[in-house]
């Protein structure tokens, strides 16, 4: 039987099953299109999910900077493009993540003839200076409204996904709307996490259950330093949302018939999806956010500043979601699953009872 990779989770709501009700309560906080899958295989969902991205271990002696990892990744992708003789298409939203990745390529090579930028009017408006100074006339361009039609093997699609997971979480921004800025930098505890969960509509019992699960997860994995409220939310994003982020473009592709793992390895690359980036993230909790939301993704913004010299952008640019603009006006299957033989299955109408897992982390 297949195992789920990503699903529309609204269909799993089942008030007759107490374990499902408890698990489902997290969706007061998280969007229903996100599937939380534990990359450490500790917390078992009430529905059968496959862990496609086990959390990596940090290589001994790893000490690369964010800048070094970025440029190294761009060089790696340029070599890959050369080896299979394909053009790289960068999905550029104009936001922090995709701006940094364009800069990584500009730092890695002076020959941009094999790189095309996919963008739209919103991408230009997001960061006009960067567009006019570093993209226009220097790269070939494609309309990003075609993004989901581009997974055909004609190009190597390179997106800026996962930088959010390296640096933190939108929940940090939400937390700052409710509590004073400094509290993000306080030691995390039940006293400052549970009330936030409750303020989003979870019951006291559900909030305590989820806090306890994540706290135990942090303690038992003990992979890196997680001390503060900001780290708690980063860990939730980093260790539970990764898989959802990888598959959300794939699940919306116009060419399902082409999707195999080999195909994805060749033609679908998310820039920040590497062991080096994840190692950097686990080893550098102090370089993710400083002061407040404007200081979010600080190491990434420093990398951008060092290339553009745009201090105003560095000081004032804040993270904005952009992907949903590209995802509008599209259908999406109920779920994407993986079969025992490693093939992918797009499930347009799911029978959720087939995936119920009675022995799970929410009924023990």
């Amino acid at each position: 039987m297949s195992k789920l990779l990503l699903s529309k989770n609204g269909q799993f709501e089942d008030p007759t099953k107490p374990d499902v009700v408890e698990w489902y309560s997290i969706y007061k906080l998280i969007n229903l299109n996100v599937s939380l899958v534990d990359r450490c295989d500790i917390i078992e969902n009430p529905y059968v999910f496959h862990n496609h991205f086990p959390i990596p271990t940090i290589p001994l002696g790893f000490n690369k900077t964010y800048e070094e990892v970025c440029i190294g990744r761009a060089e790696e992708l340029l070599a890959h493009a050369k080896s299979i003789n394909k053009t790289i298409v960068i999905l550029y939203s104009g936001g922090i993540d995709s701006t940094a990745l364009v800069i990584a390529f500009l730092r890695a090579t002076t020959d941009t003839s094999n790189i095309t930028i996919a963008l739209n009017t919103a991408s230009i408006n997001e960061n006009p200076n960067f567009y006019y100074q570093h993209i226009r006339g220097k790269f070939k361009m494609l309309p990003s409204e075609r993004t989901l039609d581009m997974l055909t093997g004609e190009y190597i699609m390179v997106g800026g996904e996962f930088n959010d997971q390296l640096f933190g979480s939108d929940l940090m921004g939400e937390y700052q709307k409710v509590y004073p800025v400094d509290t993000l930098f306080e030691l995390y505890s039940e006293a400052n996490i549970v009330p936030f969960l409750e303020s989003n509509g979870m019951t006291a019992a559900q909030s305590k259950k989820w806090y306890s699960l994540i706290n135990n997860h942090i303690r038992s994995t003990n992979l890196c330093e997680i001390k503060y409220v900001k780290d708690f939310f980063w860990w939730l994003n980093f260790s539970f949302k990764w898989q959802s982020v990888y598959f959300r473009i794939i699940s919306r592709t116009a060419r399902r018939d082409l999707i195999t793992q080999d195909f994805l390895n060749n033609y679908y690359q998310q820039f920040y999806n590497t062991q080096d980036f994840q190692s950097w993230s686990m080893m550098n909790p102090d370089k993710k956010i400083i002061r407040d939301w404007r200081g979010y993704k600080i190491a990434c913004k420093e990398f951008i500043l060092s290339y553009t010299g745009d201090k105003e952008y560095f000081d004032n640019k804040i993270k904005m979601g952009s992907l949903s603009g590209v995802f509008r006006q599209r259908s999406v299957p109920d779920a994407l699953a993986i079969n025992d033989d490693g093939t992918f299955e797009f499930i347009d109408t799911i029978d959720m009872s087939k995936y119920y897992n009675p022995v799970n982390g929410f009924n023990r």
Partner: protein, 226 residues
């Protein structure tokens, strides 16, 4: 007699009539697209645009409420005049007409909601009013260029000069905007037509019609939330 309603000029009122029942008016609306959508549900339905500001329009078009299900009016026209009169008691109480009107009204509410939804998605899309406004001119000029022979029209060259880039870059930039706009618009149109046709074909119950609307909302917006 109540005062004549004041319409801004030009503002059409669209009335949807039952052509098999003396053009009994089933509803009126300011939305041309919603009116046209509902007429596709049954060939009995005919749409008439009423030029509310014109002097050949019977002033009762301003006085009557054509969406009041308790009143039935008939639409007619003479040379130089468009008229509306109250239907007689026999037609007003005709069970078949009453039921048909209710069905049309039920579907229409959801057509109107779908139309608004599709328009609002385009408003929040990447398309800007500027490119939309100049779109026809831009496309006309792009079509006259021959990029492989490095030929660009004077208008494209003027745009390049004004925005400080080469004609080839100007061509690429304008083409990018037009293609993004076309892709987003055509997806929107496709989703609209698909759900418009469903709204006209499902059972006219509120639950069935809402399900179609929710499906459109999923495709247009909800599926994009990540």
């Amino acid at each position: 007699m109540p005062a004549k309603k004041q319409f801004s000029n030009p503002e059409f009122m669209y009335i949807v009539c039952d052509s098999t029942n003396l053009n009994a008016i089933l509803l009126s609306t300011g939305s041309e697209s919603s009116a046209k959508a509902i007429t596709l549900s049954n060939r009995r339905l005919k749409i008439f645009p009423i030029e509310t500001w014109a002097n050949w329009i019977d002033e009762n078009f301003s006085n009557f409420n054509f969406n009041d299900l308790n009143k039935t009016y008939l639409y007619s026209w003479r040379p130089g005049k468009r008229l509306v009169v109250e239907a007689d008691a026999a037609l007003s109480t005709d069970r078949n007409l009453i039921d048909f009107r209710k069905e049309v009204k039920s579907r229409f509410v959801w057509h109107d909601a779908l139309d608004i939804l599709c328009n609002s998605v385009m408003c929040s899309n990447t398309e800007t009013p500027l490119h939309s406004k100049y779109g026809d001119s831009i496309i006309g000029q792009l079509q006259q260029c021959d990029i492989s022979n490095n030929y660009f029209t004077d208008a494209i060259i003027a745009y390049a000069t004004a925005t400080n880039c080469t004609p080839a870059t100007a061509y690429e930039e304008l083409k990018l905007h037009m293609e993004n706009m076309a892709h987003a618009r055509l997806r929107n149109l496709g989703i609209y037509i698909k759900h418009r046709n469903l709204l006209n074909s499902v059972e006219p119950t509120n639950a069935a019609l809402k399900k179609v609307y929710d499906s459109a909302k999923d495709e247009l917006i909800m599926n994009s939330l990540v």
